[in-house]
Subunit: 257 residues, 2 copies
């Protein structure tokens, strides 16, 4: 794959568009791969994406193993990924209930173990995504790449892997060592940028080049693991809704290249 051919647009970036708008605009812009979120889907989504000639790199998101009903919801997420032809279901693993991080981590491990056979039956790989530690209280007890890799290794199953998101992991002094040992466990790679000043915990991500993440270096480290799949652009920032659609997609392509 050439560099631009690896571009996938994670559709949370354009969550202010409908899925039909996003599909049509990506196809028109020559962006051949997308990654929808579950709340963007309806019964027509898989057909619509296929009809536009687009591939799906992943579905966001399963996980939240510490919440009631997680197992049923995660099996449904696996089915949705399979319907879309998404090779990966991204797992945002869920926060601790109360203050017991160790218990949450054990609950997450057990939940993934229960989900794995179902995912394997559907040909969907589970991508454990470590989130930034600032999201530990509300979104994920898994907050380092090292922890995500160690967890994935415990299953010793090709359907368990990790998703590396530059925004969530770039700060980690162990990043280089962890990636050097990641082998075939990388199931996906997401890019955006960390803005300075940092003004928002949730929606303050920047377009590539606007922040302080050394994305070329990180791309090289991820590539060196053997991962040669799609690179998802996933930028969560309300300011993007103010850009004209064609201009936004052209800007993303230019920055990606």
């Amino acid at each position: 794959m050439t560099s631009l051919a690896r571009l996938s647009l994670n559709l949370i970036t354009v969550d202010h568009w409908s899925l039909p708008e996003a599909v049509e605009r990506c196809a028109a812009a020559g962006i051949a791969t997308v990654a929808p979120w579950r709340h963007q889907l309806d019964a027509s989504s898989a057909r619509r994406i296929e009809a536009a000639g687009l591939a799906v790199s992943s579905l966001c998101r399963g996980g939240f193993f510490t919440a009631p009903g997680a197992d049923d919801d995660n099996r449904r997420a696996v089915e949705q990924a399979a319907e879309l032809g998404a090779p990966v279901l991204v797992l945002v693993c869920g926060p601790p209930e109360g203050g017991d991080l160790r218990a949450a981590r054990a609950t997450i491990a057990a939940g993934i173990e229960r989900l794995l056979p179902f995912a394997a039956d559907h040909g969907v790989r589970l991508g454990i995504e470590p989130l930034h530690p600032m999201m530990v209280g509300e979104r994920s007890a898994i907050v380092t790449l090292g922890e995500a890799l160690a967890l994935a290794r415990t299953f010793d199953d090709p359907h368990a892997g990790v998703v590396v998101d530059a925004y969530h992991v770039f700060w980690d002094p162990r990043l280089e060592d962890e990636l050097a040992a990641a082998g075939g466990l990388v199931a996906g790679y997401h890019v955006s940028d960390w803005l300075v000043p940092t003004t928002s915990l949730l929606a303050g991500r920047g377009l590539m080049g606007d922040g302080i993440i050394d994305l070329p270096r990180l791309q090289a480290l991820v590539d060196a693991t053997g991962y040669d799949g799609p690179v998802e652009v996933e930028v969560i920032n309300p300011a993007l809704a103010r850009m004209p659609p064609a201009e936004l997609l052209a800007d993303i392509k230019a920055r990606f290249a």
Copy 2:
């Protein structure tokens, strides 16, 4: 020391009071130790704190090694710590300039190495404080306890140590292992709590018990390193300014116990 005897009030918690007010109120409340910040000091501060019968646990803060003029400013901070009788100068090490975290970390290591002999001459220990990774862009390239400990070890000098702040490190899956190997390197311990929902990157800390940090467990891990010095309460939250002073200090004492 009994538990309450270890309480030190880090005066950023009451930055809305003048230093004379803080000293008077702590003495009245039976809080025997304080930790001022440099911007709170004037020529009378050391005399005033001593006259009130208070001890000083640390001075906040030196560091910012990646900024121009850091060496001069850090030597001045060491002198101020010595004047106050503070055994520890807390180092907030500074962010990367641009996106090069490795370069920033090297600059920080070199800066501490240059400062150490001066600190030793003044009887002041340098406490490298890892900050939460959400502060990497603006405050500190040192964002994990493991990294701070590894850095402190490189100097092999009793005047180099680390400061453990519960708020900055509680999320870390390696925390238990790092503390188990910390030995005598812990130079200080700070407590506050991580609120859920998490609404602020900078000033959203909670009083102990209002958030999700398992503080009793963390205290036990810190104590097991052999650290038996002051425990600083350091809560940065503008809501505290709305509490009547005596009530705030009584609340802090009750939560601490």
